[in-house]
Structures are given as structure tokens and as C-alpha cells.
Symmetry: C2
């Protein structure tokens, strides 16, 4: 049994608790958080006490936010624990990796950073596709899914009581990519935006719609559709966290023949699936550390077998 | 530069020659074959002489047929060379692996077996999908593509001058899989068959069609369509080697939300793309051997970074 503890109890932390519990080779040691958790189904501890348990925990899964939590917690916790995280600030990845790598090696620990689906599963797909088809173009396209940042932007508009925002890939853009036309990419070219908003009493509908559609950085330049609905309808139909996306590579082989590789994810719950992936990498993290493979790793450093519950014999018989 | 030699000069061997030449970190040492090759563009040698070059070659890519060539050649060649192959007799993989593993370890060599796309890329996808979504069903579906075995079967029917056969996934079956209905699988349920045949002079069309459609093991039980065309049309439109396939996984996360993962390949030339993959694994084979990681490996033992031309710093910046 691999003893796994979860740091943070937001959406992702809650999903990771479920995911760890569903794997029979993993044992949920408990959840650590800055403040006390009111939840009787989970053994919980204050984060301040975590070093008392360093001999009882094999791997920590860090479930805080990348900028506020993990960038600070990771380098602190790796001194005493193996860690897996979903650090997703793409531009900070090289620096965070270096920081974690040095500390992990000093302390004989193993860190797997930036798991989840993007970065994570999508990073693996981009790398395999490019390695197998170097003369090609690779597109990463997101959606259909909820963008938390865009929802918050809409909610900040005067007259809006509550709102969510879906990012939707443009079908005609996808077709050009699939046809190997190598279209120019920008987020506006590739995606539409769809808003479901609830008006405050007395708000001017046309005014609110105009202010949403023209919001710079978030909506200006996009094809945006705004639907005004009731609070009841919003709560009933739009409070899930669906997401998904595609990695599409088209190109030519060295024999001058066309090849197309398409990978897509369609998820009812973004945090649930992110959690499943982080959990599989916790298994890999434990195994690598047992092999004295210390330091920071990304998903590109991990062979598929380390993620699987199956042993080598089973993989040879059933998966090859 | 990594010195790569190719063993065998059939369809796959020819594609591998192109693929190795297209990679600037690889150098094509030459092609080895049982008989002399008439081709001025390729440096060629007789297979009998191969051991004279054991210090000049870093990796051999074995391009013969699985049953007739590789099962015999692999265990012989691994004594003096690192090898990559596309061994695709699924039921013999565990035994072949064991055989290669023992010999590779004895001789400080590295073998990567069963590369290509199935087994190979598809094996990686099956393993990742199942690791990330254990409570799920995974379907592997082939086509649209040419099945060499079925083409040969049609050509054996009396009255047929020449023919090809396409295996086509049934759209309604794919829809059930994508909807998470977990339909029962059999090759007949999942695929249709389409034949393009040229009749010999004087042959009875209805008779020939009946004999094709009712051929046991190949067509009986399938929804088969037979088109009779001219030899000219067959040679013009049906002499390529297109293929492809899908790995589709649907299931539920531990949080009880639905998730769907779909991966698909669409290839104008089956041997060309198979060659691209074998070539990337030749790079991995060389690197693993340099790290003294001896023995037989499958694609499930290889981390994505070993396949890429990019170094760690580039991968951190561009692919994560």
C-alpha cells in the first residue's frame, strides 16, 4: 500500500480524495490544509503539523493554486516528502522545475510536477506526436468547457448577479486543422465564447450585453453569444465543471504521405479527471523514489508502465 | 550522430530508410538483406556479413516479417547489436520479450520490441487511458484501411484477376462507444468490409460476388460490399497502403462524472508511419544503451523524452 496525503481541500483536493480512495493499491493518509476542515468523512490535519508525519506518508499530492500555493509550498514540502502537483503556470514551469529538482536531489526525494491534462496528458501527446511526425503542425484547442477566469470577468460587470462562460472550439477552424490546411492560430480564431448570465433587478439588458461583449482581453475580438437566464436555470444547468480539448497533429512522413493524429478529451468534471491523472502519477512517484530515482520529473520523464496498476507480465499480455 | 542500419528492404524497410534519412541526428549506415538489392540510392550489404560491422552501428531496425524473420533474427542479432523492431504477433509478445531480454542483458545490449502503431503507439494509449480512468472500457477499432490478408483472400477466388479490401469501422458502432453505451465487441459488429475487384475475362460476376461474401473467416458474417472495377481503375486508385484506427475509452471518474478519451490515426501510408515510429524508438534505444539500461523494453518502458529530438530545457519551455 502506498500512503498518499492530500494538501489543500478545494475542488481539486476533494476530487483527489475520491480518486485515491478508489485505487486499491493506495491508502489515503489524510488531508492537510491551512484551516480546519469541516468534513467528517476525511481524516484532516493542519498543514503546520505536516512534518510530524514525514515517516508515515509516501507521496503528497499538492492541490492548491499554482501561483498562490504550490510555488511556495512545493519547495518547502519536497525537503521532507515526495510530491506530485498540477502546477499549471506554463511560463514558470522551467524555473519551478529547477527549484524542485535541486531540493529533491539534496533530500533524496522525487517530485513529479505539472501533471493533470494540460499541462500533463496533453504535454505527453504533443511530445509523442512531434517525435513520430516531426514534419508537422500541432494544434492544442480547448473546450467545450467552463473557463473560470472568464466567468469571473462577466460577474464583475455591473448589473450581473451571476454568470458562467463556456469556451467552444470553432468547428470550421477544427475542419481546417484536420484537413491539414495549417491555419493561422490565435485564441480568437480558434474559439467562440458563450455566456449564461443572470441580471440583477433593474439592470439594462442591452447595456450589460454590450459591456460583456466589448470587454478587452476577455471578449473583445471573439464571437461571443450572451444568454440571459434565471438564477434557477443557471444553478440547475450550469454549475458543473465540464471541460475538454484536443491535440491535433497533421503533417507528412519522410515518404511524403499524409498523416493525421487526433487526440481529444471530453470531461463532465475538469477537477475529477485532473485528480485521476495526479493520482496515477502519485503511484509513479512512489515507484521512482523506491528505485532511488531522485529529483524533479515532468510527465515527459515517466514511462507509461509506472502509471499502471498492472505488472510487467500483465502489460505484455493485455496492453501491447 | 547515431548510426542506424536497416535489416530488410520490403515496404517497411524502404520507409525506414526515408525516415532515418529525414532525421538530422541519425545517420543511415546502410541496409542489410538476405539477397542483393538493386538500388543505387542505398548502401547495401548482405545480412551474412553484418557481424563485421558491429562496432560501426549503434542501432539496427529490423524490418522483416514478424513470424518468418524477426522471431529468428532478433535473438541472433541482439548478441552484437542494439535492436528496434515492429514485432506484431500479439500472442507471441511475452515469449519473444523474455527471449530478447535474457540475451540483451547477457550481452549489454538494449532491444525495444513491438514498436509501430499497433502494437506501439496504440499500446501506449491503451495503457495511459486505463491508468488515468481505471473504471472504464477501452475499444481498439481499425480502419479505414487496407487489409493485406483480406485482399489476398479475394485474389484467391476463382475469376478474380486482382483485388484490394478496405476494413471500415461502422459509424453506428463508433457512436455507441462514444456515447459510453459499452456495446458488445466483435470484429463483425465493429467493422464493414469493402472490396474492389477486377474480374478475369469470362468470369461470372454474380458467382464471384457470392463466393467472396460467403468466404468463411474472412467475409462471412460481415456486411461486405463488392465493387467490380477495371484493372486500370484499381491500379490508379487502390494501390496505396492507407490505414488508421482509434483507441476510445469511456468511463467514470471516482467522483462519478463521465469522461471520454478518443485517439485516432488517419494514415495515407501504413508503412511510412510505422517507420516514423520505429525511427523515434531507435533514438530512444541508443540513449538507453548509453545509460547502461540493458535488456528488452516495450514502448511501455520508454519515457516520452527519450523519443524527442528536443533536450530537457526545450521540452520544459515548449512541450509541457
Amino acid at each position: 500500500m502506498i500512503n498518499v496525503a492530500v494538501v489543500g481541500f478545494g475542488n481539486l483536493g476533494k476530487s483527489v480524495v475520491n480518486s485515491v480512495n478508489a485505487n486499491e493499491d493506495l491508502n489515503l493518509f489524510g488531508v492537510f490544509s491551512r484551516r480546519k476542515i469541516e468534513n467528517e468523512n476525511v481524516k484532516h490535519f493542519l498543514l503546520d503539523e505536516i512534518n510530524n508525519f514525514k515517516d508515515d506518508i509516501d507521496v503528497l499530492i499538492l492541490c492548491g493554486s499554482s501561483d498562490k500555493d504550490i510555488e511556495v509550498q512545493g519547495p518547502e514540502l519536497i525537503k521532507n516528502f515526495n510530491t506530485v502537483d498540477c502546477f499549471d503556470t506554463h511560463s514558470h514551469v522551467p524555473e519551478y522545475y529547477k527549484n524542485m529538482d535541486d531540493l529533491a536531489k539534496e533530500n533524496n526525494k522525487t517530485a513529479i510536477i505539472s501533471t493533470g491534462w494540460d499541462p500533463g496528458f496533453f504535454s505527453v501527446m504533443r511530445t509523442l506526436n512531434q517525435a513520430f511526425l516531426p514534419d508537422s503542425n500541432t494544434y492544442t484547442i480547448w473546450g467545450k468547457g467552463i473557463s473560470q477566469g472568464h466567468g469571473a470577468a462577466v460577474r464583475s460587470v455591473e448589473g450581473v448577479l451571476d454568470a458562467v462562460q463556456y469556451t467552444i472550439p470553432k468547428e470550421e477552424f477544427l475542419e481546417k486543422v484536420r484537413n491539414g490546411e495549417n491555419p493561422e492560430y490565435s485564441p480568437e480564431i480558434a474559439h467562440d465564447r458563450e455566456v449564461f448570465a443572470v441580471l440583477k433587478e433593474g439592470a439594462n439588458k442591452e447595456e450589460v450585453e454590450k459591456n460583456i461583449i466589448n470587454m478587452p482581453a476577455y471578449f473583445k475580438g471573439y464571437n461571443t453569444t450572451v444568454h440571459f437566464i434565471t438564477l434557477e436555470e443557471l444553478n440547475k444547468n450550469h454549475k458543473g465543471m465540464p471541460h475538454g480539448g484536443k491535440v491535433i497533429t497533421t503533417g507528412i512522413t519522410a515518404g511524403n504521405s499524409n498523416a493525421k493524429i487526433e487526440f481529444s478529451l471530453d470531461l463532465d468534471s475538469n477537477p475529477d479527471f485532473t485528480a485521476q491523472i495526479a493520482t496515477a502519477y502519485a503511484r509513479a512517484c512512489f515507484r521512482l523514489n523506491k528505485e532511488k530515482n531522485f529529483g524533479a520529473k515532468t510527465v515527459l520523464d515517466i514511462a507509461p508502465k509506472y502509471l499502471s496498476k498492472l505488472n510487467n507480465e500483465e502489460l505484455l499480455h493485455h496492453n501491447i
